[in-house]
Amino acid sequence: MLEWIMRYQRLLRNGLILVVVALVAWMLIALPPTVIQSGIRFSTVFILGSLAALLASRAGVLNLAIEGKMLLGAFIGVVVLYRPDLPPDAVGVNPLWGVLAAALAGGFLGFVFAVLYLQIRVNLIILALALNLFVANATVFFMRTAFGVFGTLADPSITGLPTIEIAFIKDIPVLGTLFSGYNIITYLSWVAVAVISFILYYTKFGRHIRAVGENKEAAESVGINVTRVQIFAMTLSGMLAGVAGAFLSLGVLSQFLENMSAGRGWIALTVAIFAMNRPVPALLTSLFFGMSESIGLFVERQEAINLPSNLVQMFPQIATLGALVLVAMRIRWSEILRRRTFVRDFSAQLDDLKQKVISKPAAGD
């Protein structure tokens, strides 16, 4: 098996990539545009959430509080727009203010998280879980005390983000569904991938983040202010998670519901781990997660296919498991291959050396 893999390594890899590309192309053509758009909407939360997670991980902080920050962002975004006494024909606050407020709220929570962890040295995992629980219940509490509503904060004055149709592109068959007809946060999430990649790999601040994440002590010894870098990274991470939350409450819906993030922060965390904390793979993984969710829903409502719903709903999880196994196998095999190559090359060199050592006295004779 291994020899076989070794021999056809390049062919295998290229073949796999070709299969994936073909599959994606087929999906883009065969699936109805709404399914693809729905998948991209699902993935937006994962993109922003996973960027938040990987930014924190890169700075050496395991950020388990993404779920809480997302929920806070979703809540604050709606609260800013909530004007129950507004006359029915008046225009409410621009939802962009809600997004901005959500980003600030998430950033603030990220900052508090960083300060509590770095300065007061609260246990990281307990702190994160406490924060998640706190936000989940505080939002409910404030809805009751401040607005007198149970569980749902909805009002005609809260308007969702408008979808943006891009001229020219929207009329092209496949590109139109791919790139046109989303709200600002989806576009923002794509830009964020580029910006975070740029920050991480091409700026001094990014290099400092990676250095701190790789080895805190080493970074400190060369004069990097570790605490400051981590606080910045956590604040930025919180802002991204806050915007992800605003996408749920203002992008998809236009209301806040109790615990509406429904575990998406945790999935985003998995996405970041899956993508090994790199922004572009995180984008691809998020798209994969989002698409598998929307395709699952699509398949379920097809009368012709008629699979039991419980089976279909396993699809994203099975796909994830399969992909995880593939990635793990790939890592393992490449490790084995490297070892084998090393042993082969080394033994060849050794043989060579032996030959020389043995043949030398023979030559002297």
Partner: protein, 374 residues
Amino acid sequence: MRFKTLLPLVLLLSLLFSVVAQAQDDESEYVDECAAVDTMETEDTTEEMEAPDNSDFTFYIILPNARGDRSFIDSAAAGAERAIAELGVEGVIVETAGVQEHDAAIRRAVQEEPDLVITIGIDAAIIEEIVDEFPDQLFAAQETFFPATPDYDNLALFNILTHENSYLAGVAAGMLSRTGKVGAVGGLDSPGINLFIYGYEEGVMSVCPECEVVTSYVGGSNPYSDPIRGKEIALGMFDEGADIIYQVAGRSGEGVLEAASETENLAIGVDSNQDDLFPGTVLVSAMKRVDNAVFSFIETTLNEEFVPGETRVGMPEGFAGLSWDLGICSRTFDEYGPEDQVEMLPEVRMAIAEAREAIAAGDVVVTNALEISE
């Protein structure tokens, strides 16, 4: 003071109005009972009396999740609040955060030794264990479906069957669909949810045999509190040609309603009266009067008429119905709905009234998903 002077006037007006309404209806054959009843109800509310003092009677009500679904749970809580206000009893509403807290919440309530512990939609195994353990405590379990009816002297079971009113909602959907394709979005593929969906399907088919009904379930890790998935499912269905969706998915259903409002299609609400959440979008709500059930439970126990055993009620007993029915008389859709569909409403209501009679007479038997599973 002002009410008393107004009362005769109101009564007179109502009489006039109902006579006029009756006269009109004779021509169109359809009698809108609500037009007459509305005015009669003003009579009742003006004569509201002081709540009697029953503060020595206490009850605990355990909700399966936090309030705020604007549906099932809120309805139960509203019933408890009405009992506190009207019967003058002492009551504590306990909200739990999910199945992990149910057992502890009930035990905590039992510790206080109230006269009655009401549980709403809590798993049968949890209830059975506690009921068995505390034989001196009266329990009332609502919306808990036991595999076999347990035999305890201190447990009353009360279940509302909603297949028949879902059938009526299906009749409305089948008649008003423009595309001939309607949808249903459930929380989970379980008998409790299919009770609604099968009834609805049969209702649609009864008036529109060539119609297609697409069913989908929210599923995922939070089937009843994931409005994002709910909305995406509904958007997909609407895109594929459905134009009316019945939502049976708790808080996830909010997403369905919003998708309908956004795409200018229709939705059918569930459990509570959801007609006013998106005026003109929510056609009608298939109501489950959990509030009345809670109220009647407290009332009967207060009057020392507690009867153990299982009671299954539904449309004939008035615990399930439509938001158009007597008692609610929601006419929001008449006011805000699309014109061509509003014009059809009298016809639809006629058909619903006929279907209701047929069900009552036993001519139409609606499938009960719970009995299939048993």
